[in-house]
Subunit: 144 residues, 4 copies
């Protein structure tokens, strides 16, 4: 199970990484394995829609079983199918890098983090940094 | 403007109050004046639907202009009207104590906190404690 | 047809009436006969959800063919039916006084005004004052 | 805070610009920083769907943090991602020029105007003219 303590640590470390890297203001959502929000922070200056995008990257990763970089790659080849998935999900799925699955020490899937605010590659780097700073493991992307 | 720093302080103080008081696990959402999430934490053991309820108390308070205790009082007398408001709001409005408006030192409305997890009166007490611990003001309820 | 010029005149006169009467800040929506927004103003200090409520009073009046005072009276006797109507309307129908049908000089239905912000009776008085100030006619309520 | 007085001035000046320029009838929406409608006017002859488009340009600009010309540019390169954002936003985001962010004298984001009715470039020119006529500042487009 992913605790609130770990979730808060992931978020704070991801934001620290964004500040060190001089990124645009970001929003960071941590969801449990059921796709439900445990914790969230949106930096001053980040647009209000960033919550939906950050959550959508994490929700889509959990719902499909792989991270949102892989979702994004598949969406390029299957645009109509992914538009349908988006509708089927009620808008809760967003296919763009920045959603990363979280594993415990035994490799069990325990949740996901989603970040939005800068470019997808930068968002994803903050997500991985956050997970590792909290002593957990980011599940490697299938296409890495 | 309600900063992320203040929002985080509100949440941590509200949760500390809940632990001191021996309450059930709570979820705490802080929204800006436009009804958008700035920060959120859900304690271990709190059900996943608590996010929607906590947010809904805060969103309803901001959308109508008074806290969710007053929303709750009005809903008792006007049940059908409030059912319609719930639908009109797309489910984002929840009428039960625990949503409290946040003012700055000049009395400007800058956001709201919503809490769900224990009884409404207890949730509300944590909301007020959190706001005050962050050096801000809880707008008094119209019916207080 | 209800012109933008007349719609703007209705809104400005309704707000003037609210200020003269010392009411809470109001939101005023004018819709054409098809239920679509022509013009809208929300006074400083009125909550953001007031748009949906004001529009919903006007939309419901036009959709059913009588004003929202009558909608409100019927809802008291048929709460489950009106909850269903609210869902069927996707939340666009709100049953509370303050939505008034607008007629031209020949008695043709050309639109509706909806107001939210103060008590329903006060909102309705402003709606009627606005319509009359613009040289149009408020269709009398069936139950007046 | 963006006042109703300023919002009304923006709309009237934008419409005056459209008439001077001989444009098709337009719809003009002014939203606060939280994406909520403050004021709106739709000229006689403008289709009823123009409200949704005008509002969507403004809402999308505020939600993402840059104007709808930039949204439009990004959507050309990322069509599937933007289809998903549209669904995630419940249809409230529209990526086409004509949505412009409004700043106060200190450069703070206080709202947005969205216009629909003529070509996007023309809509945008009216939006900027309206903002400047009201003594406020249009935030320059990232790609200008």
């Amino acid at each position: 199970m992913l605790s609130l303590a770990s979730s808060g640590a992931i978020i704070d470390a991801a934001i620290a990484k964004a500040r060190e890297s001089g990124l645009a203001p970001i929003a960071v959502a941590v969801l449990d394995a059921g796709g439900h929000l445990i914790a969230f922070k949106r930096e001053d200056g980040a647009g209000f829609f960033r919550f939906d995008i950050a959550s959508g990257k994490a929700w889509g990763s959990l719902g499909m079983g792989f991270d949102s970089r892989e979702l994004s790659n598949r969406a390029k080849n299957l645009p109509t199918f992914f538009s349908m998935l988006s509708v089927a999900a009620g808008g809760r799925l967003v296919a763009s890098p920045g959603g990363v699955l979280i594993e415990d020490a035994q490799g069990n899937l325990i949740g996901a983090v989603g970040i939005s605010g800068d470019l997808g590659d930068q968002d994803e780097a903050c997500a991985i940094a956050g997970i590792e700073a909290a002593g957990l493991r980011a599940r490697p992307s299938k296409v890495a």
